[in-house]
């Protein structure tokens, strides 16, 4: 028996040695897991978080925002200046090359901008580009970008989702070619794409030396899509992975207790909120949601802090305003409603619902959060029926006929400006259930004014009224857990975009 066991363990050991699963530092390869299949690496043709990650690592924007202090710096452009409210002039960096050797100059900027703004080309993330009208070449290293209307957040977008493509290559291969053989100027170049499954990246040796992103240090990135968290954990234990993210809070706690890996937690820009049918889109006859006292009662009824403590954990915190606190123009200096079920009941009684009422409660993600909120509402007499739908079905329902109350989230596409949040939902778009003309007009001023103080003033006005009227119940910010090998030096940023070029081996 002893002999047999010894034999078995030798076989096991040889097989381990024969395996390819060695942790990353030894072969300078960081092994990464994505949770979802990324549709296309071409950043204008995906709307996924994984796509944003690829975009930041493979391409460069004209500008760059330091993710830790929020400061804007030049990247592919070295200087920028507003000629008037709708014209931005940029001086481009010289001596930059794309991964395929193509030289970067004004033609690339002009081609990229004019391509993405053309609706015929069907860019998937219209909001990121449709504020631009066109681009114009002044000389080889100087361009002008013309806007459709004054848009002060332009700098933020140029530092974020608008990356610059090589004109000759893109004209030849188009989005489908770019999706499988991406070419950018960024710190990492893509050497292999198995659509949705696997992406292999390699440090770009010719990355321009003065980039505000710094220089990449890790040689290779091997990104695989592994949808199941348990499988990711198994790979991590076996050395088949070095870095995973979006780990559920309870699992992160267990991993922390184990002390074999670094567990880092950081807030993300995603905010959860309850959206209520204040304008009566579902019908104006006997619609309790149209009464401000009912909406305030709902606000008072929910113990948001308890949900954060029990379910979200980490660096999540409750928010009181319809925007992400770090966004330009966002203020938390608005009316807030503490958890007070008695007051909620009193407000309901005052509104003519002493025994509460019954309503459908819509949600599409985090069923446990939704159920917690429903319990709080039931406790004050509002009987809720959960309608848990696919995102697209819920969105359609909201656009067509509205929903009395729904649990929604918004991540602002990591744009650090309130125009990407508040203005998205309170300017009479199809998802605006408040339809408040005053709020809309204030937001119009805030979105298009070039004076920062005016912008702040008008966002504050709008946000205060949104809170006073309790059009929404802003809930909490989300957080993300990152788990990685102790060999890796990495500090997550608040915008939930892992920048592999800022990671290094210890």
């Amino acid at each position: 028996m002893k002999k047999l066991l010894a034999g078995a363990s030798i076989i096991a050991l040889t097989m381990v040695a024969a395996g390819s699963a060695w942790a990353g530092k030894a072969d300078d390869t960081l092994k990464i897991a994505f949770n979802k299949e990324l549709e296309s690496v071409d950043s204008f043709y995906n709307s996924a978080r994984e796509g944003v990650i690829m975009q930041h690592n493979v391409w460069d924007g004209l500008l760059y925002r330091d993710p830790y202090n929020g400061e804007y710096k030049g990247n592919l452009a070295t200087e920028w200046e507003w000629i008037d409210d709708v014209t931005l002039e940029l001086v481009l960096r010289e001596g930059v090359t794309f991964h395929n050797g193509e030289e970067f100059d004004a033609d690339d900027v002009v081609y990229t901008v004019n391509w993405v703004v053309d609706e015929k080309n069907g860019v998937k993330t219209q909001r990121n580009v449709n504020w631009m009208k066109s681009a114009e070449k002044i000389d080889k290293y100087k361009v002008r970008i013309h806007l459709k209307a004054p848009f002060p957040a332009a700098i933020e977008y140029l530092a974020g989702p608008v990356s610059i493509y090589p004109n000759e290559y893109y004209a030849k291969v188009g989005p489908s070619g770019m999706g499988v053989e991406p070419v950018g100027t960024g710190p990492y170049k893509v050497v292999k794409v198995e659509p949705g499954k696997r992406f292999v990246l390699e440090k770009f040796d010719n990355y321009h030396k003065d980039s505000p992103k710094g220089q990449p240090t890790i040689g290779n990135l091997d990104i695989r899509t592994i949808p199941d968290f348990n499988t990711q954990a198994a790979e991590l234990f076996g050395g088949g992975l070095d870095w995973i993210w979006e780990v559920p809070a309870d699992q992160a706690e267990k991993m922390t207790a184990m002390d074999r890996f670094t567990v880092a937690n950081e807030s993300t820009m995603r905010i959860g909120y309850l959206d209520m049918d204040a304008a009566g889109l579902t019908g104006t006859e006997n619609n309790p949601m149209m009464d401000v006292r009912v909406r305030q009662a709902i606000y008072h009824a929910i113990d948001r802090q308890a949900i954060v403590d029990a379910l979200l954990k980490g660096k999540s915190r409750i928010v009181n305003s319809a925007c992400f606190p770090s966004q330009f123009g966002c203020t938390e200096d608005v009316t807030s409603y503490d958890y007070d079920p008695e007051k909620a009941k009193a407000l309901l009684a005052e509104a003519g619902y002493p025994d509460g009422f019954e309503t459908d409660f819509y949600a599409y993600r985090e069923r446990d959060y939704a159920e917690a909120m429903m319990n709080y509402l039931n406790a004050v007499g509002i009987k809720t029926n959960l309608r848990f739908l696919q995102y697209s079905a819920l969105r359609e329902q909201r656009m067509k006929s509205g929903t009395p109350i729904s649990f929604q989230t918004w991540g602002s596409y990591s744009i650090n400006d309130a125009s990407a949040f508040t203005s998205e939902f309170f300017k009479f778009g199809s998802l605006d259930l408040a339809r408040d003309e005053e709020v809309r007009d204030w937001l119009d001023v805030a979105d298009s004014s070039v004076d920062p103080e005016t912008r702040k003033e008008f966002y504050a006005k709008a946000l205060k009224k949104i809170a006073d009227q309790a059009y929404w119940v802003p809930l909490f910010s989300y957080n993300s857990n990152y788990i990685f090998t102790k060999d890796l030096e990495y500090k997550p940023a608040m915008d939930d975009i892992p920048r592999f070029f800022q990671m290094s081996w210890k």
Partner: protein, 305 residues
């Protein structure tokens, strides 16, 4: 026989067409495709642009007609999600699923049939009990759980098999066992029941009386008759494995066709879903047809039908 075959094939194609029409309509009912493609982060303008770009503003019938017209010429169009031709996408994913399906059914047959025969030869014996236990376990254990148990044992404890990916044969060992084990109980119990039935038949007694060896009686006389329903079941199981190994593909991150179909439904990626449904229904048709042929070879009486 030819007319019979053609009739059967024609009917099968009609079934495939009906399935594809139904799924097309159902996907539209399940949510606005433009909103699904645009994703959670989309603004109104994003969705509107996509609606027009993909032509969702046209009548449903026109859209379906266009799809069908292109599909019969072998052009399944572009995936809305991956900006790639659907044909290329599916070919890539299907190979993994095929390997997994063939391995899975082989594993199931190689374990289930001998166990079933052994159990039938000695009913109510220890071996019968053990076989019953194994089959009940296979039926009762959810494959996601079984998969994780295997991962814990073979990937974490002993580190002899990789938990995810599809690069080498070692990646397929655990998925094959999980998928095959799930299909095994049905096959085993059917083999056992069929064998018990056949072994009490007169011609077995006659064969034994003629002095045929026990081996010959078992395999030549008994199993050949008992296996006929098993062939039909295995064909259905095989179709099921090729279209439905979603859980296994997801746990072991194999990225096969089943997982692609499942994800594509959530994304309302119509061209991909349509093409996969067509291929899956063709699989069922082909396997049922093959099992009919195989049964006709096993049992000459069926060749008359």
């Amino acid at each position: 026989m030819l007319v019979f075959t053609l009739k059967k094939l024609g009917l099968a194609l009609l079934v495939a067409l009906a399935v594809s029409m139904l799924s097309f309509a159902l996907l539209y009912l399940s949510g606005d495709p433009a909103a699904a493609i645009a994703g959670e982060t989309a603004s109104d303008s994003d969705i509107e642009a996509i609606r027009i770009f993909y032509g969702f503003d046209r009548p449903l019938l026109v859209q379906y007609g266009e799809w069908l017209f292109n599909a019969v010429r072998g052009d399944f169009g572009q995936s809305y999600y991956f900006q790639l031709p659907v044909g290329q996408l599916i070919a890539d994913r299907l190979s993994v699923t095929m390997i997994l399906g063939v391995c899975g059914i082989t594993f199931a047959l190689l374990t289930a049939v001998p166990l079933g025969v052994a159990a039938a030869v000695r009913p109510n014996s220890l071996i019968d009990r053990v076989a019953l236990f194994i089959s009940v376990m296979g039926q009762a254990m959810p494959s996601f759980w079984f998969g994780l148990v295997l991962i814990v044992i073979f990937s974490i404890q002993f580190q002899i098999l990789p938990p995810s990916g599809s690069e080498s044969w070692r990646h397929f060992v655990m998925p094959t066992i999980v998928l095959g084990y799930y299909a095994m109980p049905g096959i085993m119990r059917l083999t056992r029941a069929g064998m018990l039935d056949v072994l009490s038949a007169d011609y077995i007694r006659t064969a034994r009386a003629k002095g045929a060896s026990e081996m010959r009686v078992m395999f030549k006389h008994a199993l050949r008759n008992a296996i006929i329903p098993v062939v039909s079941l295995a064909a259905v199981q095989m179709g099921f494995m090729l279209g439905g190994s979603i859980v296994v593909e997801s746990i072991f991150a194999l990225h096969g066709a089943g997982y692609l179909a499942w994800e594509s439904i959530g994304r309302n990626d119509l061209p991909t879903v349509q093409a996969l449904i067509l291929i899956f229904s063709l699989f069922y048709i082909v396997f049922t047809f093959l099992s009919d042929l195989l049964n006709a070879w096993l049992d000459p009486r069926m060749r008359v039908g």
